[in-house]
């Protein structure tokens, strides 16, 4: 039964992709992506801007659900039915595709000179010699808050952890608003918006992340367990039945003005802007006033070329355009919260996006701790972090137990270079 269902799904996807390419006389490029929220923006702004300048090349954007993207893409690439252009997840997921020959080497692309090595790091081989995706954007974590809610209870924007919990207490006491909109049903909210959001402050960003990869720090060290302890304290401030609250539920609670604080990634900005609320943002609070703040400024999305594409020349034309400052400007403004990785500075008009990007000046940026190298094996550290972060907030596991489980899982396959 499962066998036929899976095969049916693959067959259907290959037929659909086939129809897409066979229709027009013009060359049609298909883009695979997990950003289904952006469908409208691609169709109305980005693709028309490209097609206007490049007659003869049509582009269609066909996204799939974020959590299914990697699996679906791998299956489609193996079956030879994937689109010409594919959105690249950062680090190992894409690296492995490149090593298997599924993605084209793009080192020679003219537009690559528009990106710094740091920007390219997430899509470059370990030795730094080959780059296989054109960097598009990074996302920054922080907290978005409802200004009206803060005014109502007379709360100041918190700078330290203590102030943060004081604000939450005030909001809870007032009772008009759910203090914090987050659920644990989908699990990745707890990990990505929770642990990876506040964590860098404790493990000191890049310093801790690199030490973890080098093996000099462990997930059971104080600096990695402490964020879990803080996370566990969030529980009483979450909405009723947060255990069954999904990610869209959280988004809706916040955009309907029922919640005060939203642990966010900057990608939420364009959605939240449509709600007509007065919103502000603050970076993850620090332990003591005056401490260095750390933010997660995560290389998130890039675009690569399917090595089996029949239209490689046209696809490269598109990728050159993606690497251009023109695309950077359209993308960053159409999708505030996706910050361009292009070396050319991009003017952004969105105040909330400006607020997020301004933290780059004052805080130390890092990327999500689980993405580089540490999610290469089984059990997968990122997926385990999802489960354990949700467990910590639900109270199923203590912070110490969760950290131990993660470290044990990592130890079972990862042997850091001595």
């Amino acid at each position: 039964m499962y066998r036929t269902t899976l095969q049916g799904a693959m067959l259907a996807s290959s037929i659909l992709a086939g129809v897409g390419t066979a229709m027009a006389a013009d060359v049609t490029l298909n883009i695979e992506s997990w950003r289904n929220d952006d469908l409208q923006i691609w169709q109305e702004q980005i693709i028309p801007a490209f097609e206007a300048k490049h007659p003869g090349i049509k582009v269609t954007f066909s996204p799939s659900a974020p959590t299914e993207y990697t699996a679906a893409l791998n299956a489609k690439l193996d079956a030879g039915s994937a689109g010409d252009l594919v959105a690249c997840r950062p680090f190992d997921t894409s690296l492995q595709l490149f090593e298997k020959g599924k993605l084209e080497d793009l080192t020679g692309l003219e537009g690559m000179k528009n990106f710094s090595d740091v920007a390219k790091s997430a899509w470059t081989t370990d030795d730094g010699s080959k780059t296989f995706c054109v960097p598009m954007a990074s996302v920054i974590h922080g907290f978005i808050y409802n200004k009206e809610a803060f005014e109502k209870v007379g709360a100041e924007v918190p700078k330290t952890v203590d102030q943060f919990f004081a604000v939450l207490d005030k909001l809870k006491e007032d009772g008009t608003y759910i203090p914090m909109a987050m659920g644990t049903k989908d699990m990745w909210e707890a990990a990505t918006m929770g642990y990876q959001n506040i964590g860098p402050t404790y493990w000191k960003g890049e310093e801790g992340r690199k030490a973890l990869i080098a093996g000099t720090q462990k997930l059971t060290d104080e600096s990695w367990v402490e964020p879990y302890r803080v996370l566990a304290k969030w529980k009483p401030y979450l909405g009723d039945g947060f255990e069954a609250q999904t990610y869209p539920d959280s988004q809706n609670l916040f955009t309907l003005g029922r919640a005060a604080i939203y642990p966010a990634g900057s990608w939420e900005i364009s959605l939240f802007n449509t709600a007509g609320l007065k919103l502000g943002a603050f970076p993850p609070p620090v332990a003591k006033d005056g401490d260095t703040c750390y933010i997660s400024d995560h290389n998130d999305i890039a675009m690569g070329l399917n090595a089996a594409s029949p239209h490689k020349e046209e696809a490269k034309v598109f990728l050159e355009w993606v690497a251009s400052p023109e695309f950077a400007s359209i993308y960053a403004n159409a999708l505030p919260g996706f910050f361009s990785l292009n070396s050319t500075a991009v003017d952004m008009s969105d105040p909330l996006a400006k607020e997020f990007v301004s933290w780059r000046e004052t805080c130390e940026p890092t990327i999500r701790s689980t993405y580089q190298i540490l999610s290469r094996g089984t059990p997968n550290l990122e997926n385990e972090t999802w489960t354990e972060s949700a467990n910590v907030i639900n109270g199923t596991d203590t912070p110490e137990a969760a950290a131990k489980k993660l470290q044990d899982g990592l130890d079972s396959w990862y042997k850091p270079a001595k």
Binding site: D240, A244, T378, N383, T387, A390, T396
Partner: protein, 316 residues
């Protein structure tokens, strides 16, 4: 049949011409079934004996199975999924089938009004797609927007409501009951058909002997529909151990919270296709698929050789 020598064959052939039409009529089913079921099955069994070592696809014997049962992490994931699958199955057996039999018994009562309407209504969820069922129930049970908390509030039972899908203790039971709700129509229909098959004379004879009502159901009707119940049990078993869709649509591929709803199907999916940053591992996936196949095969064999032969059948 045809390996007679030519001399002997001519006589036989004249009397009994080769019945080519049998082959012709069987061919489409045999070819399609072989192509989409048997070959993939053999390929899966074969792949479970291979793995990628240093970039080479090599034969590893039963090493994959050793990993699945020997490695503490793989083993704990596997036993968790298998255990959950048994709970899933037992809830179906304990809830779906008795209710299905009861509904069928009620529907077959002579003189029941609107019987056709009830029959259709009970059977309708079975026709719905998993995605729709999963989505509807997720919404109904949502603590934020759902109608379940509101309805329970109306009858003063709001305090008993909980975020059932989000709690490790209740998630599996909730998902199982949703599945029961969806599939209740199948046992109901099969039993209903079996009940209608019972000849009037038997019922009349029972009535003359003074057996009516409950006694009639338990002493006359139930023994007569036992073979149908056996068929339903085995269908439920196969369906449950192949289940995947409903858990996937309701709880996602990680089958949360804390893998509380992870069954063999979702475990296979995560392993074979990967999830988020985890890449698919086709060899281990095939290994799990093989184990699933063996579990189902064992279950079906136990039923066929152990139970079905002992069920007494009545000829009318």
């Amino acid at each position: 049949m045809t390996d007679l020598s030519p001399e002997q064959g001519t006589e036989a052939a004249r009397r009994r011409p080769r019945r080519w039409h049998i082959l012709v009529f069987l061919a489409p089913a045999v070819i399609i079934y072989t192509a989409v079921m048997i070959l993939p099955l053999i390929e899966t069994l074969r792949q479970s004996l291979f793995n990628v070592v240093d970039g080479e696809h090599v034969f590893v014997g039963f090493a994959n199975f050793a990993t699945l049962f020997g490695d503490p992490r793989w083993a704990s994931d596997f036993w968790n999924a298998l255990g959950n699958n048994f709970v899933f199955f037992l809830i179906h057996m304990a809830v779906q089938n008795p209710i299905g039999v009861a509904l069928a018994a009620l529907l077959s009562l002579p003189g029941l009004r609107f019987a056709a309407f009830y029959r259709t209504a009970f059977f309708l969820p079975t026709l719905l797609s998993f995605v729709i069922v999963g989505f509807i129930w997720k919404l109904i049970l949502s603590p934020i927007w759902g109608v379940a908390p509101w309805l329970m509030d109306l009858v003063g039972m709001k305090s008993l409501f909980g975020p059932w899908l989000g709690k490790p203790g209740s998630a599996l039971i909730t998902v199982s009951l949703v599945s029961v709700w969806q599939f209740i129509g199948i046992p109901m229909m099969l039993i209903y058909a079996a009940l209608l098959n019972i000849p009037e004379e038997v019922i009349e004879a029972a009535e003359i002997d003074g057996i009516t009502g409950w006694g009639q159901f338990f002493k006359i009707k139930l023994p007569l529909v036992l073979p149908a119940i056996g068929i339903i049990s085995i269908l439920t078993f196969v369906g449950n151990f192949n289940a995947f869709d409903l858990v996937y649509t309701m709880q996602g591929a990680l089958a949360g919270p804390d893998k509380a709803t992870d069954i063999l199907g979702t475990f296979l999916y995560r392993t074979f296709f990967g999830f988020q940053l985890q890449l698919g591992d086709q060899s281990m996936g095939a290994t799990i698929a093989t184990i699933m196949f063996l579990i189902i095969l064992t279950g079906v064999c136990i039923y066929l050789f152990g139970i079905q032969r002992r069920i007494r059948r009545y000829q009318f």
